[in-house]
């Protein structure tokens, strides 16, 4: 007996989107936000999140108009063959770069916190191979893994937030309300990388059971990350202060370190936090690895994406080992972030074009 359907249910869309978004960058997000927007970091994070939610809705609307194809195919209809191919290739490069960035950022943190003597090469290849194992099993397995791990990841983060609530100094946050609005706006492009990941919608919509609900559940998927990110930034600043946050390498982990585990069972809460964080990083890496292989497969007009996973993995592995120090990684991640923003702008333009040119299926007024 075949299961009634291997397509993604609404809840699975929600979980895939939300676990692709919640990723590694939360480790450094409070630092980036505070560097650029000072005490108003949490407001800037929140505004960025809201903007991204808007872009997500547009992305989902675009995906919904072409329920049977991925963006690689339908962009041909909108902007013609050659630009579409170029766009597809940029998407592919972008996904590969995102996997690389996440891997490198994450394993630098793992090395600092957990395994000082284990070589980075070994850590990255084991993790990549675990992600390959999942991707080879297809999108429905990825969705199931997201459903399994996401509650653990979000649960741990909420636990960190809950346990850090004691002795927060709200005065640290007050200067935010005297700030210039432009300070927040300036921070937005740098913060977007934390919210990237919902591009997954452009590729998983063909596998959705009910494509008309993609917009709704995609939107619900980004909400937890907006609130968790903003809370993290606010709490880190409230607990540590603006100046120390900008000098801290991984402020979120530092926050976790201050927590006294109730009952005295564990001394270092940051390790506990980091352990569950591995699951969060895993879902993100897997879904982006899946996206990169699917995008290159579709770009070449093929169907079976599985061989491409194995072809991409060495590239990602070498790219991930390329940056020499943390400075280079943050520069690299900055560029990736810009590329992501540019691609989102393209998606928005594509959507406007589809509406004008009346391509794809007309909008149905049955959601929300």
């Amino acid at each position: 007996m075949k299961e009634r359907t291997d397509k993604l249910s609404n809840a699975q869309i929600l979980f895939v989107v939300s676990s692709s978004i919640i990723g590694v960058t939360v480790l450094v997000l409070p630092r980036t936000a505070t560097e650029l927007a000072k005490a108003g970091g949490f407001i800037a994070t929140f505004i960025t999140g809201m903007l991204m939610a808007l872009v997500l809705v547009i992305t989902a609307l675009l995906a919904r108009r072409f329920p049977n194809n991925t963006i690689i195919e339908y962009s041909k209809e909108i902007i013609g063959l050659v630009p579409a191919k170029i766009l597809g290739f940029v998407f592919f490069c972008y996904f590969v770069c995102v996997v690389t960035t996440i891997l490198r950022l994450f394993f630098d943190a793992i090395k600092v916190l957990l395994l000082k003597n284990t070589p980075l090469e070994v850590l990255i290849i084991t993790f990549l191979l675990a992600a390959v194992y999942l991707c080879l099993n297809g999108i429905s397995s990825i969705a199931k893994i997201c459903e399994l791990f996401e509650p653990l990841v979000v649960g741990t983060m909420l636990l960190v937030i809950l346990l850090s609530l004691e002795d927060i100094n709200f005065e640290e946050l007050l200067p935010a309300f005297k700030q210039d609005v432009f300070e927040w706006i300036y921070a937005i492009p740098h913060l977007t990388i934390s919210y990237l990941g919902f591009e997954v919608l452009l590729f998983i919509t063909p596998y959705a059971q009910d494509t008309s609900k993609v917009v709704k559940y995609g939107f619900l998927g980004i909400l937890p990350s907006i609130f968790i990110y903003s809370l993290f930034v606010a709490i880190v600043v409230g607990k540590v202060g603006v100046e120390p946050v900008t000098r801290s390498l991984y402020p979120t982990i530092q926050l976790a370190r201050y927590i006294k585990f109730p009952g005295g069972f564990a001394e270092r809460f940051d390790i506990f936090f980091m352990v569950f964080w591995i699951l969060g990083a895993y879902t993100t890496v897997s879904s982006f690895l899946y996206l990169s292989s699917v995008s290159i497969t579709r770009l070449l007009g093929l169907i079976n994406y599985k061989p491409f996973i194995l072809l991409i993995v060495p590239v990602i592995y070498m790219l991930a080992l390329f940056p020499q120090n943390i400075k280079e990684i943050s520069i690299f991640s900055q560029y990736v972030s810009y590329l992501g923003v540019a691609l989102l702008a393209v998606v928005v333009v594509l959507y406007i074009l589809t509406v004008i040119l009346k391509k794809g299926e007309a909008l149905r007024n049955d959601d929300k």
Binding site: M1, K2, E3, R4, S9, A11, Q12, F15, I110, L114, L115, T118, L123, T126, F127, A130, Y133, L134, N137, S141, A143, K144, I145, E147, L148, F149, G264, F265, A266, E267, R268, I271, F272, V275, I278, L279, Y282
Partner: protein, 533 residues
């Protein structure tokens, strides 16, 4: 479903030809159609059965006309009293009596019907027209009645053989709840099911499995509850099995499971009729086999192995707490030694300083790294467990005492292991026995060995890596088309009432959705209406 493609082996055929198996000569070969003469029919039976000492062939004559007849049965599988009183006596004596009182002999062409309708006073009488059918019936304990002048045989059911009585199932005992368990006889088992569901929609179909064994395998479901696709799939998989002999339902399990490249059970096994009936009511299909006291229940998901029949007989709050305890038992059983190794050798900062100091103090005399220590002790434990399980109960307890107390204490005193490691092993062992399903408990307990290796290599990151790979493996599994990790992945919130905890029975008015039942609602059911649907 995955199968190794079993083509008939050409080498085997060649070998068989070389060995020259005894073949019947052309004049000895038996035509499998039945003859009209008793003598010729008996010859055909004898051609196969003459060398078997347990087969009884009784020739006699019927009525005043002395029509030659014969009985064929297997001694030991039949009830001799029934044959004497219900078959032989009416045929040899009472028919003659009837003929004398009527003063006219029964016409020879009607004698078959008369015997069937008037003489044989047994409950189940059938006609068979081929020798093959007759053999199957006779060898499963029925009596063949051959009457001269007819090319068909009457089969009377006079089964009766020594069998184990209904006892308390040893592998699934409960404090509260019915104490009966399945036995080795299929009919007794189906009767146990029937006694609990007096609904005409309970269907119990039987197929024969095994080319030589010809074992009766029955599958039961409730029509109008179990999904039709599921029933068809069970039927298809059972009919696909092509092996000579089956000894236990676990062998059937191996042939019909979805994936044999995993050591997680994908089919639930139970000895309890009440558990089987509860599963039928959830829309599952139960497979019972003759000669086996274990029923198979499909589809099965991972969480089912954490349910015990008693959960539903106990108050729901207590049952929920105990079920949570089982889940934590599973985590402890698979992860405790790995976490110990990881923390001791990689992250001593994770635990409070006092504890680190006391662990370090106890480990000071231990000559091995934590990894070797853990592996050594866990393997010792597995040795003791296996030795205890295979020995008679009285000696098994001795092994427990010798292993648990003497070896453990001596190992610590000798400085081979630290007392903390003994505690860790003890926790693992106890926690693993909390899981009700034996095969699931075994699978979960053995997971700790790969986890220990990963922990020794990559510390807590390795443990997490193992956890990830384990979960990916679990989500790819399916049991009869149902995802193994349902209702967590894919999420089905309706089924969460009976997942990590058990909610009050009044709230669980719906069947689990994962089995795709035809009728989801347990209430407002009209059995007769469902029959006509």
């Amino acid at each position: 479903m995955k199968y190794i493609d079993n083509q008939p082996n050409p080498k085997n055929r060649k070998k068989m030809e070389e060995n020259n198996p005894p073949k019947l000569k052309s004049e000895e070969q038996v035509d499998l159609t039945l003859d009209k003469e008793v003598g010729k029919n008996l010859e055909k039976f004898k051609a196969f059965l003459k060398d078997s000492s347990d087969v009884v062939i009784r020739e006699f004559s019927l009525g005043t006309q002395s029509i030659p007849c014969a009985l064929v049965y297997v001694d030991g599988l039949v009830n001799i009293a029934v044959i004497n009183e219900q078959i032989l006596k009416p045929m040899m004596y009472q028919i003659a009596l009837l003929e004398t009182s009527l003063n006219q002999p029964i016409q020879p062409d009607k004698i078959f019907e008369v015997v069937k309708l008037h003489a044989l006073t047994v409950g189940e009488v059938k006609e068979v027209k081929t020798l093959d059918d007759a053999f199957l019936r006779v060898l499963s304990g029925e009596v063949a009645v051959i009457i001269d002048g007819f090319d068909k045989i009457l089969i009377a059911n006079a089964r009766g053989w020594p069998q184990r009585g209904i006892q308390e199932p040893p592998s699934e005992t409960v404090i509260r709840g019915p104490r009966e368990g399945f036995t080795e006889t299929l009919r007794v088992n189906t009767a146990l099911l029937r006694r609990k569901i007096k609904d005409p929609n309970l269907v119990i179909k039987t197929v024969q499995v095994g080319r030589r064994g010809k074992t009766d395998v029955a599958y039961a479901y409730i029509k109008g509850v179990a999904s039709q696709e599921l029933v068809e799939e069970v039927e298809r998989r059972l009919n696909q099995i092509d092996v000579d002999i089956f000894l236990d339902s676990s062998q059937i399990e191996q042939y019909i499971q979805d994936n044999y490249l995993t050591y997680f059970p994908q089919i639930e096994v139970t000895e309890r009729p009440d558990k089987t009936v509860a599963s039928l009511a959830e829309g599952r299909v139960a497979i019972l086999m003759d000669n086996s006291p274990f029923a198979l229940i499909v589809p099965a998901t991972f969480y089912q192995f954490f349910q015990s029949a008693e959960d539903y007989y106990e108050r729901w709050i207590l049952a929920s707490i105990i079920r949570l305890l089982r889940w934590s038992g599973a985590i402890l059983a698979s992860l405790t030694p790995a976490l110990y190794v990881a923390i001791v050798s990689f992250h001593p900062g994770f635990i409070p300083t006092n504890l680190v100091i006391s662990i370090a103090a106890t480990r000071a005399t231990v000559p091995f790294p934590a990894f070797v220590e853990a592996l050594l002790m866990e393997i010792t434990f597995e040795l003791l467990r296996e030795a205890g399980a295979r020995l008679p109960r009285a000696i098994g307890q001795t092994i427990g005492i010798v292993g648990g107390l003497i070896v453990g204490d001596a190992a610590v005193r000798a400085g081979i292991t630290s007392p903390i490691m003994v505690i860790v092993v003890a926790i693992t062992a106890i926690a693993s026995f909390i899981i009700p399903s034996y095969s699931a408990a075994m699978a979960i307990r053995l997971l700790r060995f790969p986890f220990i290796v990963l922990a020794a290599t990559f510390g807590i990151y390795g443990v997490m890596l193992g956890f990830i790979i384990l979960n990916v493996h679990l989500v790819t599994l399916k049991s009869f088309g149902v995802s193994y990790m349902t209702p967590q992945a894919p999420i089905r919130y309706q089924d969460w009432k009976d997942f990590l905890i058990r909610l009050p029975s009044q709230i669980m008015m719906r069947r689990p959705t994962s089995t795709y039942p035809v009728d989801i609602d347990r209430r407002n059911q009209d059995p007769v209406k469902e029959e006509t649907q």
